[in-house]
Symmetry: C2
Subunit: 317 residues, 2 copies
């Protein structure tokens, strides 16, 4: 049973086949958030703090921390900014962190200050990346997200993406890093651009779990890029990837529809013992309070089918 251990200063979390889905909060990331980038450059971490608190309150298992403000000379500017951001976040909330940067020096600087056992985000199958990141993961004994692209880009062929993931796992083994410390991101394409994107990733997730025996993750909202009502697509994608074996995702935990899907998928995958988390969260739930539209019928939900079949047959369920 594959288990990736991550930890904050005091709390250990396991990403694993037998665990609740690990929600890695994506919000602390200035990429595409100009206002946040400007704030962080100016040394203002109010939004970072608010995002850290809001994501943990919303149910994030871990937080991704990215300081890629894309200023000039990121090799110089990003390491101290990432360190500052990590220190602020881990001073505020007690969840494991994911150190997210494309700058190797920033990852190493982050590893020096991060408490517990953070996750490195990320390595790819690119030779330069493998040689830069894997020794750091070994040195600091931390798990790493492995994105299944290489120098040739992202292949549309899932077999090629699987092969890249396999290569990374094998290279990691050469460095003494076990497969359970590799969390593979099979890369999710937008379904609006590629109709097979869903089936492709479901099949890939199964292979990664059964053949490579690794945990998996993805940038979840990619799937709905370009479509209307993205939350509806994202919220259905979550149970489908859980059913296909995915164990974590980098996503926005402040979206109630997506988080409801995560909690329900945990129940259905058998990872919420006695439905305890679900009942705690939704026992007083009323559609009216959540503003759900009225349905066409006032009859009580479900149960009739059950009554219809079992009532007649007297089954003992």
């Amino acid at each position: 049973m594959t288990r990736t251990v991550v930890a904050s200063a005091t709390r250990e979390i396991i990403i694993g086949f037998d665990q609740p889905f690990c929600v890695i909060g994506e919000r602390i990331n200035p990429t595409g958030r100009k206002k946040l980038a400007a704030e962080m450059i100016a040394g203002n971490f109010d939004t970072v703090e608010a995002d850290a608190l809001a994501q943990v309150a919303a149910g994030a298992t871990m937080l991704d921390v990215n300081a890629g403000v894309t200023a000039v000379n990121p090799n110089e500017t990003e390491p101290p900014l990432l360190v500052k951001t990590l220190e602020i976040v881990q001073g505020l909330v007690d969840v494991p962190l994911s150190i997210d940067s494309s700058v190797t020096a920033a990852i190493e600087a982050g590893l020096k200050v991060a408490k517990g056992r953070p996750l490195v985000n990320s390595v790819t199958g690119e030779e330069e990346k493998l040689e830069a990141i894997l020794p750091l993961c070994k040195k600091y004994d931390v798990p790493v997200v492995a994105i299944s692209n290489d120098e040739t880009g992202i292949s549309e062929d899932p077999d090629v993406r699987f092969a890249v993931a396999k290569k990374i796992v094998e290279r990691a083994a050469d460095y003494g890093i076990p497969a359970h410390d590799i969390v593979v991101d099979p890369l999710v394409m937008p379904i609006g651009a590629m109709g097979t994107a869903g089936r492709q990733v479901f099949a890939l997730l199964r292979r990664l779990r059964e053949e490579l025996k690794v945990n998996t993750t993805c940038g979840l909202s990619n799937i709905s890029f370009g479509l209307p009502h993205r939350h509806g697509i994202n919220a259905a994608f979550i149970p489908m990837v859980v059913a296909s074996g995915m164990t974590s995702a980098i996503m926005n935990p402040c979206r109630p529809q997506e988080m409801e899907a995560v909690r329900a998928a945990n129940v259905l995958a058998g990872h919420d013992p006695n439905c305890g988390e679900w009942i705690m969260k939704y026992r007083d739930y009323t559609p009216a309070a959540a503003g759900a539209p009225a349905t066409a019928s006032a009859a009580p939900a479900g149960g009739r089918r059950r009554g219809g079949r079992e009532g007649r047959r007297g089954a003992a369920v």
Copy 2:
């Protein structure tokens, strides 16, 4: 590629591995609906008519029709009542029907009047049932729902349920009924009573599809029986069973959350070409209009993660 053909007077629908999920509307069923039962006994079909129209308007692919008012002597009373109900429904809406009864004489009476190619609901692995229902299916050349229980009841062991399904498929073959005219219901247990119910059915669905090559269905809302906020569980269960290969369900199409999950699962399974149905339905969707609760953040949804990864790497997706 397994395809089960059903039809109304003028419209043919295919239940199949490569088709959109087939939603079989469950509402026209007096079991557990005392008021409806009383109306139907009294010859008042107002609710039946309203339910037929509402379910088709909500997106039902087919309608299940049950007239089990559980009056005294169902062998006498149910056949004419089912015939009357079927005639009313097929006079009102042009979708294929599922003839739902535990009374063999009612099923045969229904088969005599139903237009097109209806689905028979159901046969089980019970010897008496097999001998009563399968010859009717052969005689009228119609597909049938096969529920995987037998004289011993519903087994908690999925291997036994698979064996019962296999037996029904084999017995049907003896009568000259092909596997593609058997739609197996693997039986869904309430997850609140059995924590493994989800994983069990997902594994069963895969086996039924890969080994028996049959279409599948279930009474969907059973899964959430006894839990709070059942729609949330149902709506996550749908994408999970679709990812596991299920091709239809008997469910309430008048529930927006469940139907949204069906539409999104169709997109993600690659069964909504160019996301056409999704875009048509949700292009003007606004969370405010649907009354969704406000989220913790005002930032635009998703896309950032994509930007974060792909922006840097210049991927061509």
